[in-house]
């Protein structure tokens, strides 16, 4: 008797501690995972989609672009979210561009510098230009704030601004758009880069090569720091996944992200 009870207890504990054993991927549930840059917008889509399709469940998780790509490959999620282009060895996944996002170079509002040339920006982030003085700012050392290795935002910045040049290792490294903004908002000598949709009154976005970072300039193709937000699939979307992606790409879905500060694809 006692042994029987113990066995039951052990089984119950086992089930409780392994959430992987729960049934998943049934017809009316969808799991999204990946880039923390895409996540807030995916949440928005999911919220509206679920309201319009009662009985469905769309679960959005973070983890980062690389994790999302991995999860899509392994089948751990239905749709992967990426805020960077796929690398050659990841190209076996199907990709859907669902929105585009500008990358803003931000400084403290008190900083008199209003714009930078691409070459200057590169020198700042490579650690070759150390003071604001030659740029027309105060005689203070520049606090360079960057994202951690593997971040989609860093990947996009590396590709579009730095090219082959390394971001110097002495730069302050943070693991989210929010912390970068927080640091720049409080340090008068700081410079960093974040998603354009997240720029607020606490920081100022700089012009690049004389082009300000505004939606109009991005849509006209003048501001060049723009990256795609991707949905990833292992196989052609079908069923609920297809419905969801169609919704996201629809006029309504795109209007939703435009309202949140992203750039629609049409």
């Amino acid at each position: 008797m006692t042994r029987h009870r113990l066995a039951c207890l052990a089984l119950a504990l086992g089930v409780a501690f392994f959430p992987g054993c729960r049934p998943r991927g049934s017809g009316n549930a969808l799991t999204l995972a990946g880039s923390t840059s895409v996540q807030p917008f995916a949440d928005k889509w999911a919220e509206v989609f679920m309201a319009e399709h009662p009985g469905t469940a769309v679960d959005v998780q973070g983890g980062g672009s690389s994790a999302g790509i991995q999860a899509t490959k392994s089948g751990a999620c239905d749709i992967g979210l990426s805020s960077r282009e796929l690398k050659p060895d990841e190209k076996d996944l199907l990709e859907f561009v669902v929105a585009r996002d500008g990358l803003a170079i931000i400084v403290h509002p008190s900083n008199p510098v209003r714009g930078l040339k691409a070459a200057e920006l590169r020198q700042i982030f490579s650690g070759d230009l150390l003071s604001w003085k030659p740029l027309g700012g105060p005689d203070r050392p520049i606090t360079v704030v960057t994202r951690e290795e593997g971040s989609g935002t860093r990947g996009a910045f590396q590709e579009m601004v730095m090219g082959k040049t390394r971001i110097y290792s002495g730069a302050i490294t943070e693991d989210s758009n929010g912390t970068v903004r927080e640091i720049v908002a409080h340090d008068p000598a700081a410079v960093g880069f974040i998603s354009l949709g997240l720029v607020n009154a606490q920081v100022r976005a700089l012009a690049l090569d004389g082009v300000p970072a505004t939606d109009a300039d991005i849509l006209a193709g003048r501001y060049r720091l723009v990256r795609p937000f991707l949905f990833l699939r292992r196989a052609e979307p079908a069923g609920l996944a297809k419905e969801f992606i169609d919704f996201v790409l629809s006029v309504e879905g795109q209007a939703l992200v435009a309202k949140e500060g992203l750039l629609p694809i049409r």
Binding site: G64, S66, G152
Partner: protein
Amino acid sequence: MTTMPTKKGRSGRRLERNDRLVRLALLVVAFSAVSVLLVITVFIVGQGAPIMVRYGFKSFLAGTDWYPSEKLFGLWPMIVGSFYVTLGAMVIGVPLGLSCAIVLTEFSSKRVRSVIKPVVELLAGIPSVVYGFLGVVILVPFIRETFGGPGLSVLAAAIILGIMILPTVISISVDSLQAVPQTYREGSIALGATKWQTVRMVLLPAARSGIVASIILGMGRAVGETMAVIMVAGNAAALPRSLLAPVRTLTSNIALEMGYASGEHRQALFATGVILFIIIMVLNSAANVTASRLKGTKR
């Protein structure tokens, strides 16, 4: 037992059987705790060791460039970073903690002690993210405005960690000072020593092993702390050139990049874990050895 009536003997056997079952169940539970450690060890080493072998131990331990996207996995800046930050925490936390422990055991009334000791223990209950938050909001701007630099620095991390290790240092030091027999104090006073002389020449040497153990355990806490350090240290993967430069520790390196890492980058983070594991193991064994020596001297 043998002279017991048969009726009682049967219920006795049942009790005995229950006893065996309970013992077995407890044994299983106890070993599951130990086996977790085993699983963690095997997992970390299994994930982290292959890449260390592939690129060579030396390039991991002595390499100064951490650029995972270029397959450069030098952990030296993080090893040095952990060392600096921990050393700084010791310089700040140990004198504070030790003097607090001495005051609590030798120079304060029972009433004062009954107020301060629980408060110190409460310090241990504050989540590290709260320490980090206070650091970001108060300490970092203070350092930036007073000493210059970005504020996110070795100094900020050392101060925050110095405060965080206080409860560990204080409570174990208090215990070991209280464990010194009362006769030592009485003997010293009887010989004409002042209270301070007694503390310095009798109590501290007598409680030395316990105090050393408290320092080593505090060190373990400082090496392992992650959240608060990420928030105030700036996390630059370069050798810090001054106290005011940003620094990245081994733990921050893992936590910072785990979310986005894949492939060899991910393995390199496990390799970071292996090195951290070794450091913590060495520290804990050192603490155990000194603690057992304490028992030896006191008998």
